[in-house]
Symmetry: C2
Subunit: 331 residues, 2 copies
């Protein structure tokens, strides 16, 4: 295993130290292991907290900032954050208007966020959880009952963050995150496995000519292991799976071609060309788009495609200013 | 070889098609293979053109936009753009105030940009070339006489772009790019090789426990092949090499921890923590910083560290608004 790290056990903490040093707009608590906006809590503003295992950067810590998350709590690599950590993040951003938890559907995350919400309730902080489960690849998976939460997390964090910034109420902010999740579907494909530092070897084996269709962001098995295919064929598999589940024809969509961490940006753009062709050939209009590494799986090669059927209001929330390390457009 | 591509020969064109579809702020000419700002040429504004082999994305095409480049011309992967292509880019952005060419020091790039500048001169476009040669690792290398051009390219494109946007003259814009190059040093380390699509196999062999200190962005040999080291040790090698060449103590610096394409962002932040510690321990102050994948080498794992000794004016130009696909902060 080759990693740019000091020690396997310290990598998450060292990365947090790096985040703290690199981004004065963030307040990183190394003891509690939370990343919060420097100006949190904002009185009267609904707080927005997310979190999950590390190794998916920039998700979630890189999405803390104006117009998106108020705080993120990173667990160890591919490991849920603990309830006390989620509680600390919730407390750190509570401005009296309640806090929304955005939770990717993995059993550990769901349980720990639930426990944290109960503890926050004891402190008179009202918490509304929103579960993200957009991955159409499989119904249940290694760490999940039901569908896995993947790319819709970013869409929900961005739009709910915009609404919270604009003064939306607790129920309104939670409702828009829920709506985005319901209108989004994702499908991922792995060309290679990734290597968790503590494990020291790839999370699964893929042959030289094999790819995994429907991969999870921790390397969980997908629908099918198959021979290597072209980018256009991979895009067709992914978008067909999405379209089967949520017909896209006639819709204006927000689409993300997301790198899993190890695929060159040049290739992601080549894949996006195929995505744009596919969508226009199937009667969908691309209203907004994002190409790059946003919800990664360490050094995995491959991509995930996420499609959200926009409404005018969701497009407006998407366009609203955001200033985070990982996503940024101007005020 | 596993690549997310359709055909080896089409990957650059397909990526350009993807750029065109993804970024309405850009005008991509698929025939000439140039990426220009949609509003180019801007009358009276100095044009800023860069280019080089593909495979380093977001450099250069991803840095076209407000406050940075006016156009980029991507060659085939790791291959210089041809003179006609550079000429077309120069013509596309010529607003009557002259054009600055920012050229990474690789023999093919230098020759082809020189030829394009002569052709542009025949068309009465005044071109001033600025050569970037910031890599301290080696004096000459596989594709280079003298030092290689790497991370300083981004710094020069950003600051010169800001000055051009603010109405700087041809000589002023060229001078600031030159100044940034003179004040910047870089050093890269590879944990793995990268694979050029047309070659189909890694550009060089690195053992399971080996790394290459002083790697070039095309995989050119560096100073030494050695056993795998920790992030802190790698950072010490890189910053010591930079400091030996350009003493950093007492300076306020702009520092970039740049991923080569295949290293997780989590690890880049861990490396940045070591960089921040090293610099403060050696009497330098970090004034500005950038952590992420900006000047990549396809899927190579590893990082490059670039340090620029700031002046108040350079810091101001760095802070000026920029709106490109690869680098963006608000107006």
């Amino acid at each position: 295993m080759k990693k740019l790290i000091d020690a396997v056990d310290d990598v998450v903490l060292d990365a947090l130290r790096g985040m703290a040093a690199a981004h004065p707009s963030l307040r990183v608590d190394l003891d509690e292991r939370i990343i919060a906006r420097a100006d949190a809590p904002r009185p009267g503003k609904v707080g927005l907290v997310s979190g999950g295992g590390s190794g998916h950067e920039p998700l979630h810590g890189g999405f803390v900032g104006y117009g998106m998350l108020d705080a993120a709590c990173p667990g160890e690599v591919f490991t849920s954050p603990v309830p006390d950590q989620i509680l600390a993040a919730t407390n750190a951003v509570s401005g009296g208007a309640g806090v929304v938890h955005i939770i990717k559907n993995y059993t550990g995350d769901v349980l720990n966020f639930q426990m944290a919400a109960e503890l926050a309730g004891d402190d008179d902080i009202e918490v509304v959880p929103v579960m993200i489960d957009d991955d159409v690849a499989v119904q249940d998976s290694t760490f999940t009952a039901g569908r896995r939460g993947t790319g819709a997390t970013l869409f929900a964090e961005k739009t709910a963050g915009a609404l919270a910034e604009a003064g939306g109420s607790l129920s309104e902010v939670a409702a828009v995150a829920t709506e985005v999740n319901e209108r989004t579907r994702s499908f991922g494909v792995a060309l290679t496995a990734c290597t968790v530092p503590a494990a020291g070897r790839p999370t699964f084996d893929l042959g030289e000519d094999e790819i995994e269709l429907g991969i999870g962001i921790h390397g969980e098995p997908g629908r099918e292991r198959t021979r290597l295919r072209t980018a256009s064929e991979i895009v067709d598999v992914a978008l067909s799976a999405i379209d089967d589940d949520m017909p896209l024809s006639g819709s204006e969509v927000l689409v993300m071609v997301n790198g899993m961490g190890g695929t060159p940006l040049m290739e992601l753009y080549a894949a996006y060309a195929a995505v744009a062709d596919w969508l226009s050939g199937h009667g969908a209009t691309v209203g907004r788009r994002l190409v790059g590494n946003y919800v990664t799986s360490l050094d995995m090669a491959g991509c995930m495609i996420s499609v959200c059927r926009l409404t005018p209001r969701l497009a407006e929330l998407w366009d609203a200013p955001v200033e985070t390390p990982g996503l940024r457009w101007g005020r």
